[in-house]
């Protein structure tokens, strides 16, 4: 390892952690109810269907959109993790050119705004992908998956590098002294132990990614936020629906993300205790 590397690599603060607590969800739910009730009271007129009835009527449509957000998040996480592991192994390579190239790629995608990457992919990728005689349609949501997978890749790579470098040098030395090759040391000794430390930040990354899938609505993907806008338009731009609808969307994300955040916190505590 170049002696400069650790200095350069550590000049960045870790990604912000999401710390959701149960009362956040209660507050959100309360907000939706209150804003709905307030809107009902304010308009008063029976001409409009009640806010809750409206929400209930549009729930299937909104949930369909939300399902797309979840699908995008899962695929982006899977692709980003696979690529990130490869990039992370490049970051800890003893072969300097590979290490430096991996570092440049990691830094580029880690410091790029996710929304800009999304625009880039939407505009850059063709509508149809030709691989030999096969042609795939490449819908916008799939382009969004690729766009979001790139920053995930960079963050996963950094999580892997950090996890591996946090292992005591003695573990490498013990493996080497027993005749293990470097690849064996990595796969049999270092990674299985580093995995426990890498899991919480990886899950946290997933929670951040999930909330960031809403960026896809800006580039025209028919996700839950886009659909919320469509619902508002369909209801003739009722201003009393604004807060309840978006509050409802927030609540959906909370209900999905909270278990992930909770599990992350539990894991972090366990890792801390066992070390």
């Amino acid at each position: 390892m170049s002696r400069l590397m650790p200095v350069i690599l550590h000049n960045r603060a870790p990604a912000p952690a999401i710390t959701l607590r149960a009362w956040h969800g209660l507050a959100l739910g309360g907000l939706v109810l209150l804003s709905g009730a307030a809107a009902d009271a304010a308009t008063g007129a029976a001409a409009n269907t009640g806010v809750f009835m409206t929400l209930a009527r549009w729930t299937p449509l909104l949930l369909e959109g939300f399902a797309l957000n979840i699908l995008i998040s899962c695929l982006a996480m899977a692709i980003g993790t696979a690529l990130g592991i490869a990039l992370g192994l490049g970051l800890i390579s003893l072969f300097a050119p590979l290490r430096h190239a991996s570092w440049a790629v990691m830094q580029f995608f880690r410091n790029a705004p996710w929304l800009v990457l999304l625009f880039f992919m939407i505009l850059l990728l063709p509508y149809h992908l030709h691989i030999g005689p096969l042609a795939f349609a490449l819908p916008d949501w799939l382009k969004a998956v690729i766009g979001l997978a790139l920053p995930v890749m960079a963050n996963v790579a950094e999580i892997l590098r950090g996890g591996v470098q946090a292992m005591p040098a003695g573990q490498w030395e013990a493996g080497a002294s027993l005749g293990f090759t470097r690849a064996q040391q990595l796969w049999l000794i270092i990674l299985p132990q580093a995995f426990r430390q890498m899991l919480p930040p990886w899950m946290n990354l997933y929670a951040i990614l999930t909330t960031s899938t809403t960026l896809a609505s800006i580039v025209g993907v028919n996700d839950v936020v886009t659909r919320a806008g469509q619902v508002l338009a369909a209801e003739g731009g009722r201003t009393d629906l604004l807060a309840p609808i978006y509050g409802y969307v927030l609540l959906m994300f909370f209900i999905y993300t909270y278990p992930v955040a909770w599990g992350t916190r539990r894991l972090e505590q366990r890792v801390r205790v066992r070390r």
Binding site: A176, S177, G179, Q184, R274
Partner: protein
């Protein structure tokens, strides 16, 4: 010496321009127990790490059973099969049980059949008096127990030479004895051992030859009797008067 298993000649090593080993020569015969003693920072641990190529040397020659270590074409894996090493911090693999720690290298490095490896590993754990602790994880064992697992792990590769790098320095005083007994037992069985140690009593009783290092050179060496009772160099005298 013809039957020398380990021969070091004029070994030099620097870290970032600072020379920490300045021309060390020594030899250890088959079946001999050699002890390296000396003040902290005198390059003892670096010296012992050079032998199995954990630390590359700049100049000089190290031969283990005829294998030249200071050779760009060195087959490290072949060398390390001949040399077992035990560390101050045990360095057991925390995610594997005691038995698995002992089994890993023969399984994955020597590619021996599992049944044979497991039987051998169980016998080794018994030998270091840890029968019954096969399924314990390192975190559940005391320092002395962990260190004995580490010794069994190194022995599982059937090395010709065992290196011990201050293996009792991190232990609680009450567990030092059990580790030293294990090493003494090995020595009595004829295992060639090179120890970096602060255990003067042990070096005097079990060692065949004592090397005293200071400032990256071997200041003085000899049999334990002459070394401890009749040190010649003033640095040796000063060191021994502090320790004893």
């Amino acid at each position: 010496m013809n039957d020398a298993l380990l021969v070091m000649e004029d070994v030099h090593k620097s870290f970032g321009g600072v020379e920490v080993i300045k021309g060390v020569s020594l030899s250890v015969a088959k079946g001999e127990v050699a002890c390296i003693i000396g003040p902290s920072g005198s390059g003892k641990s670096t010296l012992i790490r050079c032998i199995n190529a954990l630390v590359p040397i700049e100049r000089g020659s190290i031969r283990v059973d005829g294998i030249e270590v200071n050779d760009p074409k060195l087959d490290r894996l072949k060398l390390r099969r001949h040399v077992g090493m035990v560390f101050q911090q045990y360095n057991l693999f925390a995610h594997r049980t005691a038995l698995q720690n002992v089994m890993m290298a023969p399984l994955h490095v020597l590619k021996r059949p599992r049944a044979e490896v497991e039987a051998n590993a169980r016998a080794l754990l018994q030998k270091v008096r840890l029968a019954g602790k096969e399924n314990a994880y390192p975190g559940e064992l005391s320092g002395g127990q962990q260190q004995r697992v580490a010794i069994a792990r190194a022995l599982a590769m059937q090395p010709d030479l065992m290196l011990f790098d201050e293996v009792t320095a991190a232990l609680d005083p009450e567990t030092v004895g059990e580790v030293l007994v294990t090493i003494r037992q090995l020595a009595e069985e004829g295992m060639t051992c090179l120890l970096v140690t602060h255990e003067m009593g042990f070096a005097r009783e079990v060692g065949n030859h004592i090397y005293f290092t200071d400032g990256g050179v071997i200041v003085e060496h000899g049999s334990p009797r002459e070394f401890f009772s009749n040190p010649r160099d003033s640095r040796t005298k000063a060191f021994l008067s502090q320790i004893l």
